[in-house]
């Protein structure tokens, strides 16, 4: 493994939902529910199970279940293969559920982004149209 490959960054998104952990767990682990909020998939809640996440843009992510703890933690790989190493991605997504007084705190950490990463989740998602929309948002925020 080269030195640059070890310098990675993470994305963390957290939110509290007014629902019990058991309910969130179902949404995170039942294929027909996962499809409704994330992507089409053939997920199974078994460590070592290989599955795919199929994006609307036509990209396919290679995934493998790494850790699973009922109603508490779920972790799987989130890899995108591309001939250009700058566009390929090897990352790990970990969901952590913590019960609160009024619901559940959900934390998602995706780790493995390299500083030279050109595309975050692969496929034909990026394009000039999207780029300029994003640029417009950036510029609006910069005002």
């Amino acid at each position: 493994m080269s030195e640059s490959a070890t310098e990675t960054r993470s994305v963390i998104v957290e939110r509290e939902f007014p629902f019990p952990p058991e309910k969130l767990w179902r949404a995170l682990t039942q294929p027909h529910l996962i499809e409704e909020w994330l992507m089409k998939n053939d997920f199974k809640p078994e460590i070592g199970h290989h599955f795919s996440l199929r994006g609307d843009w036509g990209g396919v992510l290679d995934c493998e279940v790494l850790a699973i703890e009922l109603n508490k933690e779920l972790s799987y790989t989130w890899n995108f293969k591309n001939d250009d190493p700058l566009f390929s991605l090897q990352s790990v997504v970990t969901f952590t559920l913590t019960p609160t007084r009024t619901g559940t705190h959900l934390r998602m950490e995706q780790s493995g982004f390299r500083p030279d990463q050109k595309q975050a989740y692969g496929g034909a998602h990026a394009g000039w149209k999207q780029f300029f929309e994003k640029l417009d948002q950036l510029l609006a925020r910069a005002d």
């Binding site: 994305v11 629902f19 909020w37 510029l139």
Partner: protein, 107 residues
């Protein structure tokens, strides 16, 4: 924000200038005359915008005969592309959908 960021933002903040740059990105190398025909402003104005884009490293010019051809330099945008914030927005959007789903699951 770095100086490089600042220059890029200032250069691209002008809508006419951004439209010229966008056209070069989409359609490839072009002359000032070709750009003027579609820019809706005068040729001197287009030339001035191209000068500023060139200073920011966003375009390059190439002389051939009496014509000057301009092309977009996409590498100049690299400082603006932060894929981790892109990914954060992706997950924020998915969490919104998750929230909708959880509400529907109640019924």
């Amino acid at each position: 924000m770095s100086i490089a960021h600042d220059t890029l933002f200032r250069t691209l903040a002008d809508p006419t200038r951004r439209a010229i740059f966008e056209r070069l990105c989409r359609d490839g190398e072009q002359t000032v005359a070709a750009l003027t025909a579609r820019a809706g402003v005068s040729q001197p104005a287009v030339s001035k915008h191209l000068g500023l884009l060139k200073q920011a490293g966003l375009v390059r010019d190439r002389h051939q005969g009496r014509q000057t051809y301009y092309s977009a330099q996409l590498n100049a945008l690299t400082p603006l592309i932060d894929w981790t914030s892109d990914m954060t927005r992706f997950w924020e959007g998915r969490f919104d959908q998750l929230q909708d789903l959880l509400k529907r699951m109640d019924q």
